[in-house]
Amino acid sequence: MTLADYERDMAGCSRCTCCKWSALSQIKSWRYAKNCPSVTKYNFHAYSGGGRLTAGLSIIKGRSELTEGVADIVYKCQLCGACDTACKIYRDDIDINEVLLEFRADCVERGQLVLEHMLMIDALKKEDNVLGEPKAARDKWAEGLGLKDVNKQRADVLLHAGCRYCYDKDLWPSIRAAVRLILSAGINLGFAGKNESCCGGRAYELGYRGEAEKYADDMLSRVKASGAITLLTCCADGYSHFRYLYPRMGRKLSVDVVHITEYLIRLIQAGRIRFQRKVPLKVTYHDPCHLGRMSEPFIPEWEGDKLLRPSSLKRAGRGGVYEQPRAALRSIPGLELVEMERIREWSWCCGAGGGVYEAYPDFCFWTAMERIDEARSAGAEALVTACPWCVRAFRDALEQAGEAFPIYDMMELVAKSIGIPEEEV
């Protein structure tokens, strides 16, 4: 598919601007009524979902050139999917997410590149991760955990840690806690060690289709070689990419793809783990876009007039992972979960996605601080989420703002409740 293939989607925009707002039925205040970080920050209509549809239409109709200004519009967007979800409350015939992805691919193909993204792709090519960290150090996070190496041993469950968990030491306690927990439940868990690579999803989002496909192929062969029946990831981005982008690229994984929060619930329900220790904390849960609305499984492109497409064949964000993380949090004794106004399908993004963290950190941090403000307003003492990119964005934003507010990866709280000593993780 190309941008031009989505002409009907783009020409279908009625400019109602629902894409700029949280689900209208759910708006509970003036302050937290908006859903799109991009247009909320940059204000011109072109920076909204609908605005980007019109921008795309303008380009393919030859009304506008693909300039640096256009690239600014295309890339100052987290691809969080809020606009798409909001639109699809009402429409069956427009897929904003698809247009946004094609727009980026078009930019890359026609040379409208963002320097920071080029650096990410260079890093990916060199070190198999977008952070530019040495490939040789990819397995350091797992030292001492006794994880099986699937290159050498068979495992039922293959853990894909993801670039952020592998290299962000601040997040190691979370993933280590997850591994400890799963191992303690007697699960045959393995990982690819140094041979694990980036899933390639970020490259796809940035518009570098070739790189993305290469890494997807790599992932497919690794999974296949492992013999695992389940692909477990703690990375919400990876989860979304495996479920949505991979099939979109024609590279559907043949194993059960599970996020750690889903797996946790399975273990709880199976009675294989129990939360014992109290965690006396009032927290709010931030739905990561890639675990929530963007993790909805891929549905093949509808052939022909999308007005005839049944609702069941449109991705509208309903199939995301929303309940399991909440259920897990509610299982922790002493922990009180309070909700923010923008949650689930209509959640506000952390700011990190779509290459924004790397290319436009100020925009990312502004977006994150908006969310932290909302968390505080909900009366929470801490914000908990289930995505390493979200955690990173929130913590960095707070640091840059010189403010303090506890941000937890869900697995950190789980570790506390299970009773895993901090020094062990």
């Binding site: 279908g12 400019r15 011109f44």
Partner: protein
């Protein structure tokens, strides 16, 4: 192309980050498919877009336009062709940054807002005080300020919460000359509680039955009336659209009422108005309702005669929400409603425990559903809308039925089973409204090209019945026809324009513009009739036809 000097001046007015002349950004304001009678759907590309953040920045922008011979047009949420440039050289003022709720006066029941606070935001805030705001038919995504000052203003809560232009109190208005005019009490530094006087009310030049759609300047603040809300301060609902689920709060009831024919339907509306019951009342087009809920199924069954006949039998339906402040009050209202419907030969369906209550209660109160109208076909327009007595609106509904059938037969609109109208009453039935939706696919050239002829036909049918031009009143080519039949109102509008806009800076096409209809698009027989209607109703020097 915007001259560099003007561009620099705009930057001085609002700051670098708030000005753009990037073509693709500009096109974001040129694409306006809704209610656009031009089949191209693209309007003129503006010369620049600015994002003023204050009244002073609006004023400075307008002064720049005056200085450099540019036109300007302001928009708030921008949903509709009226927000687009209608001529070359327009600087768009996107008022997004001016989005605050400045004051909620709980006791005196008004809220002071900026242009881009949308209905849903304001409602959410004022409900905490037991108050509510009138939501227009376009839904809670619209700007109440824009509706009240510049556009139309009907909505199904009008029975209890009136009509946007009648809900305006104090107003702050930047004229196209750059002068700031404050209407009513704010003009005298006395708060916002009145928009009229001293002496004559300048609300009279601000707008009329319709607004000037940006043609008279920029409204930067206004006070809007709030109304009693006997429901919870925060409504908890599950779901996002048609799947909304919520519990019906205490002292609320929701009914679907079906009447046997138009006469009994109209009688019921009159009686409900006189009984002073009801919080929301709305005649829905039943076929349309089916179309938005089951758009594909409706396509399949629309041609079946039996289905059409069933819908036709049930078409005289309305939804009504009763709201009481006490158990006694709601009981009284229920009893009265049952009495009215029963005596008029109808039946009512209590949605109390039905899962549909979510969409029919919260959907109508919050009014988040209107964009669903895009679902069946991708686009729609509405016709008629010359508000007056409810009987006259029934006349409009019947005309709409006839016209819709004609265009359905030509296969130029989506078949919503031929059901026609949305109707509501205002201020306890003081007057009524009828709007006839036509659904079509904006990507279907034949259907898009049919929009204007459909519209003109509705206007002619309306004029023939002395109903006025309704929702098309702002269209330049309709104005050219209508003004000489309605006291040459455009002459007076041009006089006002001369005062407030001496240099012609505002894009005033939708205020005073006049354009010729392409007569070749009209059937010769209909053209003959149209000419007769116009000639018969022209005003002369000695006044109206008598």
């Amino acid at each position: 192309m915007l001259p560099d000097q003007a561009y620099e001046a705009l930057i001085d007015a609002v700051g670098q980050e708030n000005v753009s002349r990037e073509p693709v950004v500009l096109d974001g304001y040129a694409w306006q498919p809704t209610f656009n009678y031009n089949p191209e759907l693209w309007m003129e590309r503006p010369s620049a877009v600015v994002l003023p953040g204050s009244t002073e920045e609006v004023r400075q922008t307008i002064l720049v336009c005056n200085e450099y011979g540019l036109k300007f047009k302001a928009l708030s949420t921008g949903w509709c062709v009226t927000a687009a440039p209608w001529c070359e050289g327009v600087v768009i003022l996107d008022l997004r940054r001016m989005n605050r709720i400045l004051e909620i006066d709980e006791k005196n029941m008004y809220v002071v807002v900026e242009p881009c606070a949308i209905g849903a935001q304001i409602q959410a805030e004022v409900m905490r005080y037991g108050l509510n705001i009138h939501m227009i038919g376009a839904g809670c995504i619209s700007s109440p300020l824009a509706s009240a000052t510049s556009f139309m203003g009907h909505g199904w809560d009008g029975i209890y919460m009136s009509y946007s232009p009648r809900n305006v109190l104090g107003v702050e208005w930047v004229l196209p000359s750059g002068k700031v005019l404050k209407l009513g009490t704010p003009g005298s530094g006395l708060g916002w509680f009145s928009g009229d006087g001293p002496g004559p009310s300048l609300r009279g030049i601000m707008r009329g039955a319709i607004g000037a759609c940006g043609g008279v300047g920029v409204f930067t603040k206004c006070a809007l009336k709030l109304f009693n809300w006997p429901g919870p301060p925060v409504v908890e609902a599950e779901g996002l659209g048609l799947d909304t689920k919520t519990e019906l709060p205490q002292h609320f009831k929701v009914y679907l009422c079906f009447l046997p024919d138009w006469d009994s339907f109209a009688d019921s509306m009159y009686e409900i108005g006189e009984a002073e019951i009801g919080y929301i009342i709305n005649k829905n087009a039943l076929g349309l309702l089916l179309s938005v809920i089951f758009p594909r199924l409706t396509r399949k069954i629309a041609k079946r005669k039996a289905i059409k006949e069933t819908v036709d039998v049930l078409k005289n339906e309305f939804e009504i929400i009763l709201a009481g402040n006490s158990e006694r009050e709601i009981s009284y209202q229920v009893e009265v409603l049952e009495d009215i419907i029963s005596r008029n030969g109808g039946f009512l369906f209590d949605l109390g425990d039905n899962p549909l209550v979510g969409i029919f209660w919260w959907g109508l109160v919050r009014n988040y559903a209107p964009p669903i109208l895009f679902r069946p076909g991708g686009q729609f327009m509405t016709l008629f809308g010359s508000d007056d007595s409810f009987d006259s609106q029934v006349t409009a509904a019947r005309l709409g039925e006839r016209i819709k059938k004609e265009w359905l037969e030509k296969d130029l609109i989506y078949d919503d089973l031929g059901d026609t109208s949305w109707m509501h009453i205002f201020e306890n039935g003081m007057w009524g409204h009828c709007e006839v939706p036509f659904i079509f696919d904006p990507r279907n050239r034949r259907q898009v090209e049919a929009v204007m002829p459909e519209a003109i036909e509705s206007v002619m049918a309306s004029l023939e019945k002395n109903l006025g031009v309704g929702m098309l009143a702002m269209e330049p080519l309709i104005r050219k026809i209508a003004s000489p039949m309605q006291g040459n109102y455009n002459k007076w509008q041009k006089e006002f324009q001369r005062i407030i806009d001496p240099r012609g800076a505002a894009d005033s096409a939708l205020y005073t513009g006049e354009a010729e209809i392409d007569l070749s698009t009209i059937d010769p027989n209909k053209l003959q009739k149209m000419t007769e209607i116009i000639m018969k109703n022209l005003w002369t020097e000695s006044g109206p036809p008598r």
